[in-house]
């Protein structure tokens, strides 16, 4: 194992200490593992709360700030946070207008957020929920834990965050979040496995010359292993998988997302191929975001997320945002 860490057990609190000193505009509770925008709760504003296992940074804690999340709670590496954190985050985010839980569809996240919602409601906080399940690689959803939430989480947090910033009520924020979630699909590939601090070695063996198609963001293998493909072939495969499920669509938001260890220069090359393939299929791309946003520790690879970009979605996407991980117009 080689990691830039002290000890595996301290990875999360150490990172939170780092966030605290690097981002004075955030209030970081290292002990209780909650990251909150310093001015929360913002009067008259619905609170946006998300969280999940650590290892996907900047998601979620890096998306706390005006125009996006009010609070995030990071769990252990690849482990859903516990209800206590979520309730604390909800309490910090709630100005009385209620909070929206943005939840990625993993058994752990769903169970813990459900428990938290109950506890928060007990404390008098109105809680809405949106479930992310954008990963088309998980098929036969009836016989699985359902589709995973991956890249679309960023779209939902940004767009719903912008609407909340405008002062819209919970019902509307929840409804736009649902729409964005329903309008989004993702597909990811891995060129390497992940090394988690707890395990200290790669989670699976991926021989040279092979890649995993249809991976998630927790170091689990994909649906299929294939001989290595070119960036252009991978783009065709990913776009095909996404569009087949999304169906006919007009303009889209595109996230060309790195899993963590793939150099930006490769992501941009992949982005070019994604645009080429979308162009061939007559799908216009309204906005493109390229970079490491929804990651899987040190995994090499990339994912593609497309979201149908209706007018309101685009307007809210373009609205100012000011977080460590995503920032424009402010």
């Amino acid at each position: 194992m080689k990691m830039l860490i002290n000890v595996p057990e301290k990875v999360v609190p150490d990172a939170l200490r780092g966030m605290a000193v690097a981002h004075p505009e955030l209030s970081v509770d290292v002990e209780n593992r909650v990251v909150v925008r310093r001015d929360a709760p913002v009067a008259g504003k619905v609170g946006l709360v998300s969280g999940g296992g650590t290892g996907h940074e900047p998601l979620h804690a890096g998306f706390v700030g005006p125009g996006m999340l009010d609070a995030a709670c990071p769990g252990e590496i690849f482990t859903s946070p516990v209800p206590d954190q979520m309730v604390r985050a909800a309490a910090a985010a709630d100005s009385g207008e209620g909070v929206l839980f943005v939840v990625k569809n993993y058994t752990g996240d769903v169970l813990n957020f459900d428990m938290a919602a109950e506890l928060a409601e007990d404390e008098g906080i109105t809680v809405g929920k949106v479930l992310l399940q954008d990963d088309v690689a998980v098929t036969d959803s009836l016989f699985t834990a359902g589709r995973r939430g991956t890249g679309a989480t960023l779209f939902v947090e940004k767009v719903a965050g912008a609407l909340a910033a405008e002062g819209a009520p919970l019902e509307q924020v929840e409804s736009v979040a649902r729409r964005v979630a329903e309008n989004s699909r993702s597909f990811g590939v891995a060129l390497s496995a992940v090394t988690t601090p707890a395990k200290g070695g790669p989670t699976f063996d991926l021989p040279a010359g092979e890649l995993e198609l249809g991976i998630g963001i927790h170091g689990e293998p994909g649906r299929e292993r294939r001989p290595m493909m070119t960036s252009g072939e991978i783009a065709e495969f990913a776009v095909e998988a996404v569009l087949e499920d999304l169906g006919r669509t007009g303009p889209v938001l595109a996230l060309v997302n790195g899993m963590g260890a793939t150099p930006l220069v490769e992501l941009y090359g992949f982005c070019a191929e994604v645009h080429r393939v979308l162009g061939e299929r007559q799908v216009p791309v309204a906005r493109t975001l390229v970079g490491n946003y929804v990651t899987s520790l040190d995994m090499a690879g990339a994912s593609l997320t497309l979201c149908r970009a209706d007018e309101e979605t685009l307007r809210l996407w373009d609205a100012p945002v000011r977080t460590p991980g995503l920032r424009w117009g402010a």
Binding site: T79, K199, T203
Partner: protein
């Protein structure tokens, strides 16, 4: 049916369980690697260690309170899928035991079955889906069949271990392993393996106490 299990016994069990989890944490995480996210061992280790520490500070005085308290601790410290599921298992068992100072085996078995059903409902899983349930239910059946803890606990431990092993050829239908589809076949479910450890600890705690 004269023999009753008291708070001391349940405390021994949880201690033995924590020790077993501690010893096998790396192995459980290993099992969670090829088909999951390589955290099951460290998840449970964190939770059972925290629960033991909390019990040091706040000892509980009935079997029911002890299990309820431990379950709450697991929910507050484990996270992931296994935190709420194991937390619910212990909490619901504790709740069913009420405030009796000691419980006979059949009552414990009934309480565990009620709790197991709550876990199945919470996770939406059924036996055969390659989850912890595949070790849990066989163990409960063995408890049912047993006449006294001295034979029922070791039988339950064996049944849980066999149940865990029996997940190897299964295709996972719940939890992360299900994402793999057919590729999940050929791997032992980590949660089933940890359930087997819990029942092994039950037998050990009883054997040593005896």
């Amino acid at each position: 049916m004269s023999e009753e299990l008291d708070t001391g016994f349940f405390a021994d069990w949880l201690r033995a369980a924590a020790a077993a989890i501690d010893r096998e944490a790396a192995h459980l995480t290993e099992l969670d690697s090829p088909i999951g996210d390589a955290d099951h061992g460290s998840n449970l280790q964190r939770g059972f260690t925290a629960a033991q520490a909390a019990l040091e500070k706040e000892p509980q005085d009935t079997p029911g309170a002890l299990l309820l308290f431990t379950g709450r601790q697991l929910i507050s410290t484990v996270g992931g899928a296994s935190g709420p599921l194991y937390g619910t298992l212990l909490r619901r068992t504790g709740k069913a035991l009420g405030d009796a100072a000691a419980v006979p085996l059949p009552e414990l078995t009934t309480a565990l079955r009620e709790a197991a059903d709550a876990v199945a409902q919470l996770g939406g899983a059924a036996p055969g889906d390659a989850t912890m349930l595949d070790a849990l239910y066989p163990a409960l059946d063995a408890l049912d069949a047993g006449s006294a803890p001295g034979d029922a606990f070791p039988a339950a431990a064996r049944a849980a271990a066999e149940g865990a092993e029996a997940t190897v050829p299964l295709q996972a239908r719940k939890g992360r392993a299900s994402y793999l589809g057919e590729r999940s076949v050929g791997h032992e479910d980590p949660g089933a393996a940890s359930t087997a450890l819990l029942f092994q600890a039950l037998a050990t705690a009883y054997g040593e106490g005896a």
